[in-house]
Amino acid sequence: MPRSQGFSSLNNNRPSTGMRPFVVLMIISVLLLTFYLREGDTGIIHGVRGFVTTVTSPIRYAGSAVASPFNALGNIMGNLTASQETLEELRAENEQLTAQVAELSEAQETATRLEQLLGLQSTYNLQSTAARIIGDSGDAWSRTVQINKGTADGLSINMPVCNASGVIGQIIEVSTNTATVRLITDENSGVSAMVQATRAQGILQGQPDGTLRLEYVTTDSDVQEGDIIVTSGIGGVYPKGIPLGTVSSVTRDDNATYYTIVVTPASSGTENNEEVLVITSLTAEQTASDEEVAEANANPQGTARDASSDSGEADQSDGDSASGDGSDGGEESDENAGTIAEAGQGE
């Protein structure tokens, strides 16, 4: 009997059920996931991801370039709806001027942002590198952006990133020429923060719905709507005194230890091609000293508003002490102090 008509031929003609590759690839997938979760930030899989990010970055740039005209169109549409009265006045005065404004709005916004960034850099004496946002996260579950600078430009993991309004996030992954920035609105983000007026300490935490909450602020603190929230510098990652947002609501539940404080981010959002500053190193004045950390832990509720307003402004201007004299810190405050110090380390 010819071999082709034998039993082996029947086996060859049977369509593959894919069971063998399925099992093998499932095992590889599980191993990949396990190794990824167990390895540190500099493991092999992170390295491979960095390589892939570097290789694919030209495609990302191309995508960003293709999408940017649509962003500009969106901005123009936004301007038309947002400031209809202003546009009507302008149209009445000079229709040609209105058209010009629409055409140049994007360039004007870029120039303004750059000026503000320069202002931010000089105001806070930041050691920084300018970068540009080239796209958002590829998945819907995280709030991150990609910037066009990487290890080749001296960037590394954990460096804070600011735009003209204030802090926008922190680098979580970096490749040769790109970096991924986790925004402060991401629910995995936590920033050591304080109320500028009273120096009340807390952790600014992103929420699943994209809002911000200042957590672990004890109910004996003085916090009001409209208060400005700034970085406290306790975690050693963010320079102190950089704006994070404004308190939009303060609620206190019965028998609650902490306030529920909702914060409106200083930055209204990130957009494609927006310029940002990556803070590459902190000076001694920009980080909280051991005494300041101890003071903040001892008095996390901060000081009274009237007493602190002057010293608060002085602190802000010269980047000095993070906490004033303050009132007594009881057991509750001590517990809170531990929490803040701990969370600040994980910033």
């Binding site: 049977r14 593959s16 990824y36 999408a67 995280s142 494609n272």
Partner: protein, 190 residues
Amino acid sequence: MEYRDTAHSQRALAILIAVAAVLQVALAPQISILGGRINFMIILAGVVALMGNASQAVYVGFGAGLLYDLTSPVPVGLMTLILTAGSFLLVQMASAGTSGFSSTSLRFMGIFSVGVCMLNGIALFFMGSERDLLLSLGGHGLMSAVLTTVVSIPFLMLSGSMASSRSGFSAHGYGTRFKSASRGRGRRLR
């Protein structure tokens, strides 16, 4: 003839993979609607699985998931695992005839997208990446699934044209994958 046909379908598959990969890297990060994002890797895995070749579907599902994991800030291996399993299940559920754009293939693609996005959302929640399960599933997951299903239509059409050109050139016809087995059995009986 079959040789030429195989080469043609392989080339078409390679083009499909390349297009989906480029779109995933270049376009997916730029578009976000109501908290959802288009996942071109789900589309690629789904379209290939609907073609009916189980081994090919599993390999492409694995590769697509890996590319997604490596180009997005997500745990590496998670989408790889989900798409590998999902492709295998889809190819078992759908017969080879579901390739191309039809109500049946769109339904399968919808189920596949929703399943993958929901599983991903649940996994991210239990891994601690997401804190709100409802938002993770209802907001990001469902919206991403809807967007992905809608955008999959041109890909299904493309796969349909691939399948029709393939059957046009074929000497045997590729009606279903069970045909070749019965043909082999018949030969044995003779």
